[in-house]
Amino acid sequence: MKLDPVLLEILGTQLQAVTEEMAITLARTARSTYVKDAADFATALVSPAGKFFAYPAAMGVSGFLDLDCGPTIAAIGTLEPGDVVITNHPYESGGLSTHMPDLQLVKPYFHQGEIVAYGWDFIHSADIGGGVPSSISPRFTELFQEGLQIPPMKLVKKGELNADLLTLYRANCRVAELNLGDINAMLAALTVGERRVAELIARHGRDTFAAAQADLVAYAKEKALAVQRKIPDGTYVFADYMDDDYLTKVPIRIRVAMTVKDGHVHLDFTGSDAQVLAAYNVPTGGVRHPWLTLKLMHLIGSLDPSVPLNHGLFENITVFVPKGTVLNPEYPAAVGVRHATAIRINDAVVGAIATALPGLIPAPSGGTVVPTVVSEPNHVTGTRNVMVVQSLVGGTGARQGADGVDGRDSGLANLYNTPLERTEAECSVVIEEYGLRPDSGGPGEWRGGTGLIMTIRVRNPGTAVLGRGLERFVFRPWGVAGGGPGAPCRVILNMGEPGERDLGKLDMYEAEVGDRVTILTAGGGGFGDPFARAPQAVARDVRAGFVSLENARLVYGVALVDGAVDEAQTQRLRAARPARPPFDFGPERDAWERVFDDAAMCELSARLLRLPASTRARARSDIVGRIVPGLADVAKRGLVALVDHPQEQRERLAAEIAALPDA
């Protein structure tokens, strides 16, 4: 490092504060709900090469620390003082924007005619046009349905707003004025950053400013390496599944081979499924990308909370993502719901880390985010009132030494919930229950966090309850090191009443007045053998109602009499301790993989990549559909019943693969 360590510490503080002041400015002056309530925005200072060297500690989205402005800047060519570049294009920006409501701005900061840094910010804007209000739906199959595409271009030229661009924007966006307010807030934040950077250069000098960028990155890299060295050398393979690709019932497989050598980590996503038709594709550009490395960032941030936030944190990581897969799709594959896939990428990387060293990282969380929406007619105005009742998550996974957190999950977004009183004031439904779901946390020496249970009673005729892109109905959040899986999600109509019915993945349910729709989210995975859980901890869980008396006995081997542990009986129950697998995936995945094993699926993926991008998804779903004909009914029949003659199904799969062009 070039700078003295005292000055570097001070500059680290001051540069981060610049990004935080930018974030404060943006949040204070923006108007839309995404910014105000969900804090779906971010700010950063960017090196001349396009990478982030300073980032806020706790404002806005934490996960975008390793984005790359390089391709966006390169696409523009010459930049002049007062210019601001805008883009939302997932492909043209090289993955800077990963779906189109995310508007990205980049502003060059000059000193004596030379670019010394850039300011960056983004917001999730309320709407960018396209096929539905708010522009996101899993059923879209092409970028063209997802709204206005803005390749990198100048929003501001030498201080003058590009009026033509804004006219085009206004004509393509449902809530243009609201969004323009947010764009003004973003511009104000970039101006604050510019002023503060100029002040820092005036004070410390240009050379020190440049040296600080390099030194802070080197410093983060060194700290990150120290953490990653805790992962033993070797190669660790892990895969996880999304239940389906929305348009069909065929699961999406994410596979990672993590190779670790002296703290350097290589993530190879070869073998992940080919790109899908629905909007689940993750446009990473095939390079190291925040959506691929998020869990490594969490590992580093947890084991060394003092690591400075800049791209150095990722500089000991390399990746390979084959083009044409769901993690590196080809234009114009739809990408709107890429965050659902990102959750499963996280789970796969967690699995690889847990394979290397169980206990280094928590078991997977409930693995789903369910924005539950109510759409009801306003009988006076004739319009429809649409509102998010609650964003439901599962619990977090257990880890060595700690239970998971019940009913919360900060894994992807760390959002506030909606008070029931606000929901009930703004629409006609009654939330009869919003609580923790008993017996849903993955059992273990350390218990996974419970999922949630929410019951909506409908009171207005013509009301629909929506929950799109629900996950973890089939493939459960798995247990680690002897721990069991969390309970899968369910949606039940009129639970506990005559006529109770399983609604499967909700999507959209047109309710009758008096209907009660109950959504149960998945629990987090357990860690360690449930028979090793302290009996007093089990007794406490029973007392609090997290675990039933029956499961205390069956799953944990703990006998309770009047709430107190019966030591002798517990000892007897625990005498024969069955061997537990290192990962417990639940019966569905075990059955599925008796047919669709790793070798076959890797071969299938490789061969599908030989087909034209536009036909891959169809070819894959056709093949799987022929091996498992009843798959469309999986909600009713259950996955285990559909793969009930694995030997024969394997053979047919092998034949199907052989019929594809040779990789």
Binding site: T33, I361, L436
Partner: protein, 681 residues
């Protein structure tokens, strides 16, 4: 005959006292070591000392105003009562889920908050209201009586009741609370609608539960306190400082202890606005374990409705104060990569800095002041505690060795730079949140270390003036006797209005109700109150807007309040902040916030006598701005009105040491404040 007022502030380490005559003629202060096991003992001892010092009769004291961190500490250390929470069926996990957020997005080892009330102590009843104030399910008296039995059997000390939608109409909830109380004898039962009827069930349950949580503890303490003061012969009424910068009677504090939890910092800010006169202030309160800043403009306190008490959000209006560091006890250390860090660990009051010689081994900011010569080992804390300069230097020398710095002085100076840069960036962010430019603001320094560090912070943050009050070490106790009586009320409205008066009848009805409650309260609050005034703030927004603006209504007369004025005020403020207005749109009033302020006749603040040009009492070598200086040391007591000094210099006073940096000059104003101003560009 002179009348006196006594201000008392109970802190973790010291209990501070200020005794002042109302005519400004006499003024005394005292610091008594706190007695954590029974804080009222220190109160009694200190009060006796001051009465003896001024040789007055206890009956000459006309008012005692008291503040304490007792309740706050009980919450932070989870030592409150065993509270049962009663909720509507289906809402049992309101404490478990809270607002669903985790404390840290990067760190999966960071635990969530411990629920204030464990799941086993939450009881469900069928009684349930709707958002329009109607009853969905009425109370089942038998069921509630059975719950009361279980609550008693499970050994609870207090009960909080929070039924869904009770913010809209508290009748059903009060009915349940009354039925529970009937079955629970002396056990305190409190309904959320009576504590703070604002929408958001978690926050409302929490504020109600917090009240119940500290109720038994505070009631017992107030009893002991009253008893001890009476034993001393004091006949004056006792008031308690509140979160909102005001005070309340003992009676009110006993019923609503939650209103007093954060009164300490509020009193300090209130004192700053009173002693500095009407100007734009940034308060800088640096003690042994915390550093707090706040902003106030034009002598008005700034409030927030989103404070954290430890891990718990508090929805009550509280004087807005932000923590920006861990004070003089902040630990100075070197990380494995060789970077110098200050905090977040703190040596606290115990063991405290290395120099205290109480077993601390990690150097702190206080050790830095000592090593740089800013503090004098012999005169610290009025000479009552000798500091160990060699031990402090040795500990800093160890840190210097780890990072190849040239000895303890270099390490101390580096730590000062790092800590000051951090504070300045926090200050700048706070100003940015409020959309304010710090230039023109005066930094008011108090707390033991505030005056010591304020000059450095002002220099780094490019502030032009620092104000050090006469008694920075007992500033909160002073604030207590300068405050008015004050209580806040909220009425959720969620009412669309327009300029022509649509929807305004309901607003007027809600206000009339709130006003009646406020006036009735203030009328019962005691004879010390003269006139009273009402202050109205409306939370307003355009339909479906994601956030509200708080619009202060200048003349809060309900009878003449005019909807057009209100809508215009909102439109103007929206345009000022966001550059446009939607003049044709309806406007929604989400909450009405009413404060009643009972004026307490002000006391005259004693000025400083004029004295001859100041003579230093000595000199010592101090390392400042990168070099050793031989600087004059003045005694604060010798600096009368108009006294002027030039930096570099030090001013020692019993409760603090003031640093005057090179390029700064100090002058004592007529109120006795020492004002430091930048004399270099």
């Amino acid at each position: 005959m002179r009348r006196y007022r006594l201000g008392i502030d109970v802190g973790g380490t010291f209990t501070d006292f200020v005794l002042a005559s109302t005519d400004g003629g006499e003024f005394a202060f005292h610091k008594e070591p706190s007695v954590p096991a029974d804080p009222s003992r220190a109160v009694e001892a200190g009060t006796r000392t001051l009465i003896e010092q001024l040789a007055i009769a206890p009956g000459d004291i006309e008012l005692v105003v008291h503040g304490t961190t007792l309740a706050l500490n009980a919450i932070i250390r989870q030592r409150g009562a065993k509270v049962a929470l009663v909720v509507s069926r289906g809402n049992r996990d309101v404490m478990e889920i809270a607002r669903s957020r985790m404390p840290n997005s990067y760190d999966f080892t960071a635990p969530r908050e411990t629920p204030l009330i464990p799941r086993e102590s939450v009881y469900e009843v069928s009684a349930r209201g709707l958002s329009d104030g109607s009853v969905l399910t009425p109370m089942d008296a038998g069921e509630v009586a059975a719950v009361a039995e279980r609550i008693a059997a499970d050994g609870h000390d207090a009960v909080a009741v929070m039924l869904l939608n009770s913010y809209r109409d508290g009748t059903l909830e009060r009915e349940v609370a009354a039925t529970l109380a009937a079955g629970l004898g002396d056990m305190p039962v409190v309904a959320s609608a009576d504590i703070w009827p604002e929408m958001r069930e978690y926050e409302r349950a929490l504020v109600t539960a917090l009240n119940a949580y500290v109720h038994p503890l505070m009631a017992a303490y107030f009893d002991r306190l009253s008893e001890r003061l009476a034993k001393l012969g004091l006949t004056a009424p006792l008031y308690i400082t509140a979160n909102n910068g005001g005070t309340v009677s003992l009676e009110t504090a006993r019923a609503r202890p939650v209103d007093t939890i954060l009164s300490g910092p509020a009193s300090g800010v209130l004192a700053a606005t009173r002693v500095a006169g009407h100007s734009d202030l940034i308060t800088f309160d640096m003690g042994g374990t915390s550093t707090d800043i706040s902003v106030s403009r034009g002598g008005e306190l700034a409030f927030t409705h989103a404070t954290m008490i430890g891990d718990y959000p508090l929805m009550l209006p509280v004087v807005s104060v932000s923590a920006i560091g861990s004070g003089g006890g902040s630990v100075v250390w070197c990380d494995p990569q060789g970077l110098l860090k200050v905090g977040p660990d703190s040596a606290g009051a115990d063991p405290g800095p290395v120099a205290y010689g109480r077993g601390g081994t990690r150097p702190t900011m206080t050790d830095c002041y000592l090593t740089l010569g800013i503090l004098d080992p012999a005169s610290f804390n009025d000479g009552k505690m000798r500091l160990d300069a060699e031990a402090a230097a040795a500990a800093l020398g160890t840190v210097a060795g780890e990072m190849a710095l040239d000895g303890p002085v270099a390490a101390a100076e580096a730590a000062m730079r790092v800590a000051t840069a951090k504070m300045a960036t926090e200050l700048r962010k706070l100003m940015a949140e409020k959309g304010l430019d710090p230039r023109g603001f005066v930094l008011v320094a108090y707390g033991g270390a505030g005056p010591t560090h304020a000059g450095f912070l002002a220099e780094e943050a490019r502030l032009d003036a620092v104000l050090v009050p006469r008694l920075p070490g007992t500033f909160c106790a002073l604030g207590a006797i300068l405050a008015d009586v004050r209580r806040d009320y909220v009425r959720p409205a969620r009412q669309m209005i327009d300029r022509a008066g649509k929807g305004f009848e309901r607003i007027r009805a809600l206000l009339t109700d709130a006003e009646a409650e406020a006036r009735a309260w203030v009328a019962r609050e005691g004879a010390i109150i003269g006139a009273h005034e009402l202050r109205l703030t409306c939370d307003m927004r355009y339909p479906a807007q994601a956030f509200e603006l708080a619009i202060a209504v200048p003349d809060a007369d309900v009878a003449t309040l005019d909807p057009a004025t209100l809508v215009d005020l909102f439109n103007d403020e929206h345009e000022r902040l966001y550059g446009f207005r939607e003049a044709a749109s309806d406007v929604e009033i989400t909450n009405l916030r009413l404060a009643v302020v009972g004026k307490v006749s002000p006391i005259a603040l004693a000025g400083a006598d004029r004295t001859a040009p100041p003579e230093p009492k000595g000199a010592r070598r101090v390392y400042l701005a990168g070099a050793w200086h031989e600087v004059p040391v003045y005694a604060r007591a010798a600096l009368g009105e108009g006294a002027a000094i030039t930096g570099p210099a030090l001013v020692e006073q019993p409760d603090s040491t003031v640093t005057v940096l090179p390029g700064w000059a100090g002058r004592v104003d007529p109120r006795g404040n020492l004002i430091l101003r930048r004399s270099h560009p």
